[in-house]
């Protein structure tokens, strides 16, 4: 279990305090995967570094596994950190050690005897599918393999909690998916509690049970992923299943935007609707994704007969319909647009942001097109209609 309680972190720079995290509260129950999403400079990395006390919070508490880390002294903190596995964006592997040597490092730090270390390392290397590379040096590995080594190392001391700071950033989509599948498998097998810091909505949608949106150091929205995507008013929910451009309704038909508001929507609802109404239902666009294995998102349809009140017709079926001219769905919802752009707040020293939301690979972290899921990005959409 991870509990972050009114955590505030301010950095002093040029005689002024910069509040990077402002009363952030967050709770992740045992065995859950929680995502923290937000634009660059929102304070995500600082939050991650505060959770294992690499950065000491200015105020507030961080409780991991029932232990208040903020109350611990140096030596106790070292012991407490061994129960938190951390995965980093750059994997942070020692170039001087082989894969096995890297995985062995936390065991050596904790003083595990050599024989025990050897069996545990072999076990871990196999768990992440790198048994053929145990004696390879990191320089010879691909990005995904390096991250697997980082995960094996994070698991070495059998932690209850895994902290992942942008672990899939910079990996290609296939590799990202395989890393996320590995994390989900680990949660299922070991009952790990995982806190994922990310700027990719897809990561949240694919593995997270719950998510918090962090902007300018504050949590603006949080909740269970399943509940957020079925809430037509949730900015985060719309960000998870972003609006995409839709086609024009043929022959003067009325366009409707239909949002899935329950997790038990009949997947064949369009066919049924056509049958019941006796009119053509044209599919103009769809953003339907599997969340927790169930379809969620929204669909844009057009009905030939403009007098039909689709909202009324779909009531009680877990679907919420609104006339398209009412919702102006072509434009991405405002909150998501903010999430995408998110320039540093006025008056804030950009240097302070760069220093706190540090990108260890040295890649520019500020490029919005790369750093955030653009709603209009041509990502594969699963159509279930």
């Amino acid at each position: 279990m991870i509990e972050v309680d009114t955590l505030t972190k301010a950095f002093r720079r040029n005689g002024r305090d910069h509040v990077v995290l402002d009363a952030v509260s967050l709770r992740v129950d045992a065995g859950r995967i929680a995502g923290v999403i937000g634009p660059s400079g929102a304070g995500k990395s600082t939050l991650a570094r505060c959770v294992n006390l690499l950065e000491r919070p200015t105020s507030g508490r961080v409780v991991v596994g029932g232990q208040d880390l903020t109350a611990l002294r140096d030596r106790e903190l070292q012991a407490a950190r061994r129960r938190i596995g951390t995965i980093f964006q750059a994997a942070n592997l020692l170039s001087s050690r082989t894969v096995a040597g890297n995985v062995s490092l936390p065991l050596e730090i904790a003083g595990v005897p050599r024989a025990e270390r050897r069996t545990r390392v072999a076990e871990l290397v196999a768990r992440v599918g790198l048994e053929d590379h145990a004696r390879t040096h990191p320089a010879q590995l691909s990005g995904g393999q390096r991250q697997r080594v980082g995960i094996a190392r994070a698991l070495a001391l059998r932690p209850d909690v895994l902290l992942s700071d942008e672990a899939t950033s910079g990996l290609d989509p296939d590799t990202t998916r395989s890393i996320l599948a590995l994390l989900r498998g680990l949660r299922d097998d070991l009952g790990l509690t995982i806190l994922l810091i990310t700027h990719e909505m897809e990561v949240v949608r694919d593995v997270c049970d719950q998510v918090a949106l962090l902007r300018d150091g504050r949590i603006v929205e949080q909740g269970d992923v399943g509940a957020l995507v079925t809430d037509p008013d949730s900015a985060l929910g719309r960000g998870l299943v972003p609006a995409r451009p839709v086609a024009v309704a043929p022959g003067g038909g009325q366009s409707w935007r239909v949002t899935y508001t329950a997790d038990d929507v009949d997947p064949a609802w369009i066919g049924r609707l056509e049958h019941e109404l006796g009119t053509r239902v044209a599919l103009l666009g769809a953003s339907v994704e599997a969340v927790d294995g169930r379809p969620a998102g929204h669909v844009t349809v057009a009905l030939d007969d403009p007098t039909i009140d689709l909202a009324e017709r779909l009531r009680g079926r877990g679907l919420h319909a609104a006339r398209l001219d009412e919702t102006a769905a072509d434009a991405p919802p405002a909150a998501v647009a903010d999430l995408v752009a998110a320039p540093p707040a006025a008056g804030e020293d950009p240097g302070a942001v760069a220093a706190t939301d540090r990108d260890p690979t040295g890649e520019p972290a500020g490029d919005p097109a790369e750093a955030t899921d653009l709603p209009a990005a041509p990502t594969p959409t699963e159509e279930r209609a």
């Binding site: 570094r49 294992n52 690499l54 030596r75 070292q78 012991a79 407490a80 950190r81 061994r82 938190i84 951390t86 980093f88 750059a90 942070n92 020692l94 170039s95 001087s96 050690r97 490092l105 936390p106 050596e108 730090i109 904790a110 040096h137 990191p138 320089a139 190392r153 001391l157 902290l163 260890p360």
Partner: protein, 226 residues
């Protein structure tokens, strides 16, 4: 008027001159490098860890160490050799001879190597230090298991540079009767116009430096896995 080189030592007798000098040079260089390496490493680690972004920032200590290192590096070796004679006598019991040269060589080169060490440690990515801390490593463990091994290629490469510099400075050993190839070259080659000895010592010095550099480079390549 040109002086004939008739008095030059015949080539077949040169090795008798070179051999003891080579032995003295190697003795000075190897022992000084070993001690300089250890002390410089210690000082360099202290400089790095007490630095502003170090594992344990201690600005006053860091400033003091920086001052000591700075002073050590600004005194010319030939002056240092004479200036610390009382200290040399205290350490090795004499201010003359080969072992008396080792003391100023170590005193003179340790600050240099300390800076080289500090530089090499600075090149270790910060993320690795963070990783070690996050894994629950103490500061000492972080230095021993992460920072030093990762900086090893730089440390060895820097030690090679230090060693070559020590070969150079050891040539001044003659001024306090320390012997060695440098002294030989000055005594015979310069003062007695013995061109053969001059040529032979220069060639031998070049060969020694090349060999050390070669071994150093091989070692660096061996331990570097970047």
């Amino acid at each position: 008027m040109t002086l004939p080189l008739a008095d030059a030592t015949p080539w077949d007798e040169i090795w008798e001159l070179l051999e003891p000098a080579l032995g003295q040079t190697l003795q000075m260089v190897v022992i000084s490098t070993a001690i300089t390496g250890l002390l410089g490493l210690l000082l360099g680690v202290l400089l790095h860890t007490t630095g502003r972004d170090g594992l344990r920032p201690l600005p006053p200590v860091n400033a003091l160490l920086g001052l000591v290192v700075g002073i050590g590096r600004s005194v010319p070796f030939i002056v240092l050799l004479a200036a610390i004679i009382p200290f040399t006598r205290l350490v090795v019991g004499t201010s003359l001879g080969t072992s008396a040269v080792i003391v100023p060589l170590v005193v003179g080169m340790t600050p240099f190597y300390a800076r080289v060490v500090e530089q090499a440690l600075r090149e270790v990515p910060r993320g690795l230090v963070e990783m070690a801390r996050a894994a629950g490593a103490s500061r000492t463990q972080t230095v021993r298991k992460v920072v030093l091994p990762e900086a090893a290629p730089g440390l060895v490469g820097g030690l090679t540079i230090t060693l070559v510099a020590i070969v150079g400075f050891s040539a001044m050993a003659g001024t306090v009767g320390g012997g060695g190839l440098g002294a030989l070259a000055i005594d015979y080659g310069y003062n007695r116009y013995d061109g053969n000895v001059m040529l032979a010592t220069v060639v031998l010095l070049v060969v020694i430096v090349q060999l050390f550099q070669l071994v150093g480079d091989l070692l660096v390549r061996r331990i570097s896995h970047r």
